[in-house]
């Protein structure tokens, strides 16, 4: 008889903290730095308590200067450390874009293969908290545009925990996006959780009628929609991309070969986005599997409004997913 797998109930925030703590315990080269990660315990309380356990050398508060502390992280990585740099939100990562794009992502190439940058950047992303146009970006797709870095987007407990270790083990820069709305989500995590395979997308729900390709918080909305649709006999296959760069094409292409319909749900803007990239790859590789044009649900192409009802209208919602799926699947009446 199989031994019962022991799990504990935790939050997404707890899972990330547990992963950081484990990394600090496992490898003395690992340290974390960022705005308010130490004394304050992190803007989203992810690093709460870590400074007491590991001290201010390994849990370092930085000045409000993204460019300089990401640059410092690159320097530390180049000199043998394994830094985890926390940028409070993706909105502020713009200030560090030069370091990320022009230095971290290119140094291996510019040095003729001599200097790799084993840097991990964690940040939060996404709208939905009434933080208005400047603080609601979802720019995972933007970063996925850049060769030289990996872009991860954990949406589940196991990924929130399990993606950090392989990210730290990766010889090149890895950018982890945590959607801030996910921090309070609860779920089960193995009592002795393991790292996950960050090269593979994952089928989170199997179905035969249509494939939804999504990631991050949109995964939760898609799963919710799938559950509703199942009541009406529509079986949705939901694929969690997990890693936006490099994309695991095989998983979603194989799924489309089964369902022949693809819907991409992406919280990013539509134009020139990760969703347009995926749609294009489907055209390039699975055209003759398609029984319906590839469809997308993305955020509206506007600065995200402050007003709650307008913000909700601007972001992909479960209801929208349900309606779109019905439209795509019920064509035969």
């Amino acid at each position: 008889m199989e031994a019962k797998v022991k799990t504990t109930s935790t939050t997404y925030r707890g899972a990330v903290r547990q992963a950081i703590r484990q990394a600090l315990l496992d490898d003395e080269r690992v340290f974390i730095m960022g705005e308010d990660v130490g004394m304050y315990g992190g803007c989203f309380a992810v690093t709460k308590g870590l400074i007491d356990e590991f001290g201010p050398d390994r849990v370092r508060d930085t000045p409000l200067s993204e460019s300089s502390f990401v640059g410092a992280g690159i320097g530390a990585a180049l000199t043998g450390m394994r830094p985890i740099v926390e940028i409070m939100t993706v909105n502020f990562s713009m200030l560090a874009l030069d370091q990320i794009l022009n230095t971290a992502a290119t140094l291996l190439h510019m040095s003729g293969g001599q200097f790799n940058v084993p840097l991990v950047i964690r940040t939060t992303s996404g709208g939905g908290k009434q933080l208005a146009a400047q603080h609601s970006h979802a720019l995972e797709g933007w970063y996925a545009h850049i060769p030289g870095i990996k872009v991860l987007s954990p949406a589940t407990m196991e990924d929130a925990y399990g993606m950090l270790k392989p990210a730290l083990e990766d010889p090149d820069p890895v950018f982890i996006f945590e959607n801030s709305l996910l921090y309070n989500s609860t779920g089960e995590l193995l009592s002795h959780p393991e790292s996950v395979d960050i090269d593979k997308a994952k089928i989170r729900r199997e179905g035969r009628d249509i494939t939804i390709i999504t990631y991050s918080i949109s995964l939760l909305k898609s799963l919710e929609a799938a559950k509703e649709l199942a009541k009406e006999g529509i079986e949705v296959e939901v694929i969690d991309l997990r890693t936006l760069r490099p994309l695991d094409d095989d998983t979603y292409l194989q799924s489309i070969a089964k369902t022949h319909r693809a819907l991409i749900v992406d919280e990013g803007w539509r134009s020139g986005s990760i969703s347009s990239e995926i749609a294009t790859r489907i055209m390039e590789n699975a055209f003759y599997e398609l029984d319906w044009p590839v469809q997308r649900i993305c955020r509206e192409e506007v600065p995200i409004p402050y007003a709650k009802h307008l913000e909700e209208a601007a972001l992909p919602q479960t209801k929208q997913i349900i309606e779109k799926v019905k439209e795509m699947v019920n064509a035969h009446g």
Binding site: H260, Y288, E289, L290, D291, W292, A331, H332
Partner: protein, 417 residues
């Protein structure tokens, strides 16, 4: 480069035998030219071509029995395309030999004909296109159920299932036929030869009529028409004409039916793939029974646009050629409705069987003197009993009644026809 294929001259035709080519390689053909003579269950038919160009290659040999859809010749120019056509021919022959029946929209030639006009672009999903190719289905023959009638996987699969079923049934029927033939052989006294040609025509009629009664939910309407004015007009008109130009009564019937169809077009056309498909023109099939037994139903093309004299001409021509077995392919395939006139055989009325995939059949009995009450007066009038058998999937009694009423009106004013 255009491929000339063995046309389907009716829903139940599976193959034809090439009797002779009427053109040679290098000849220039125009639309409507007779290219070949083919022996079918309906007799020897002159096959017309719907393309224009030079005959670059005659592929089939006289005497060959060719499944419907087989490429028989190549029209156009270019050496490469020729080879392509031949290899395609082989492929298609295999499919046909498999017994997968080729479905046609009304007739086999329509598709060839439309190649002249820019071909309708079929909206379809890439998957549907791929599957159609795998199953050997012409996607333009599949009704789409997706957005803007786009053909989708489910549509192709539906047609495929239908074909498989038909194939199954055809096989069963063939088995049954063989069984029956065995008995017939035993039963027939030795030395008595069955007329093979007649037999195959009987077989074709049997298949079409069985299909009709199996698939078409017929409804019947009947109307008595006072034929006095029509008869008088005909007598007066014929007095003025020379003997060879005289009109016969059926001409009026054909013209009146064509005219009534312009008012009630719902009865003119086909029922294909569970859908009504309006006839693009009014081609009236006119049942002609043959002295040797059996019948053929050649079409009087565009009867609504033809004058009475032109129709008379067509009818004479058709019945002459029907009896000598020299009908043309297009005439046998594109009727959009059928008329059967059994009045001259003495019957009072006809309850017809629709010729699938048409939507209706108009039957005429004999004109007979009867007591006729009109405006409170009783008189003796020549009365024509007209019946309509129509497909209830496509129309309802209301349209049928409208049609008969219009027909009556036109026959009351034959001078205007």
């Amino acid at each position: 480069m255009v491929e000339f294929k063995m046309p389907s001259l009716g829903a139940d035709m599976k193959a034809g035998t090439l009797i002779e080519w009427r053109v040679g390689e290098g000849d220039y053909v125009e639309k409507g030219d007779v290219i070949a003579e083919v022996e079918t269950e309906k007799g020897a038919i002159e096959i017309e071509v719907f393309e224009e160009g030079q005959v670059t290659k005659l592929i089939s040999k006289p005497g060959e029995s060719l499944p419907v859809g087989t490429v028989m010749a190549v029209i156009g120019s270019g050496v490469d395309s020729e080879a392509e056509a031949i290899s395609k021919r082989d492929r298609e022959t295999v499919v046909a030999a498999d017994g997968v029946k080729t479905e046609h929209k009304g007739n086999g030639y329509k598709t060839a004909e439309t190649e002249d006009i820019p071909k309708r672009r079929v909206r379809s999903s890439p998957l549907a296109r791929r599957l159609a190719e795998e199953y050997g289905i012409d996607i333009s023959e599949v009704q789409g159920s997706g957005p803007n009638q786009a053909v989708q996987k489910a549509d192709v699969e539906r047609v495929y299932r239908e074909r498989m079923k038909e194939r199954e049934e055809a096989k069963k029927e063939a088995d049954k036929d063989r069984e029956e033939e065995k008995y017939a052989e035993k039963a027939a006294p030795a030395g008595q030869q069955v007329d093979e040609k007649k037999d195959s025509m009987r077989h074709a009629i049997a298949a079409a009529m069985s299909r009709s009664n199996r698939e078409i939910p017929h409804y019947y309407l009947q109307k008595q028409i006072n034929f006095e004015r029509a008869q008088q007009w005909l007598i007066e008109e014929n007095k003025r004409r020379s003997v060879q130009d005289r009109l016969l009564q059926p001409v009026l019937l054909v013209k009146a039916v064509a005219q009534a169809l312009t008012d009630v077009p719902a009865l003119n056309g086909f029922w294909i793939n569970d859908r009504y498909q309006p006839g693009e023109s009014i081609h009236i099939g006119f049942a002609i029974s043959l002295r040797t037994g059996g019948l053929v139903i050649p079409a009087i093309h565009d009867a609504d646009l033809k004058s009475i004299d032109e129709i008379m001409q067509s009818m004479k021509d058709l019945s002459d050629r029907a009896r000598t077995g020299k009908l043309r392919s297009s005439e046998l395939t594109d009727a959009t409705i059928t008329i059967t006139n059994l009045g001259d055989r003495g019957v009072d009325l006809v309850h017809g069987v629709i010729y699938p995939p048409q939507l209706a059949l108009v039957g005429f009995g004999r004109v007979e003197e009867r007591p006729w009450a009109e405006n409170g007066m009783l008189g003796i009038k020549p009365i024509l009993t007209t019946t309509l058998a129509a497909d209830h999937r496509a129309t309802d009694g209301r349209q049928g009644a409208q049609f008969l009423e219009k027909l009556n009106q036109y026959l009351q004013e034959v001078e205007l026809l």
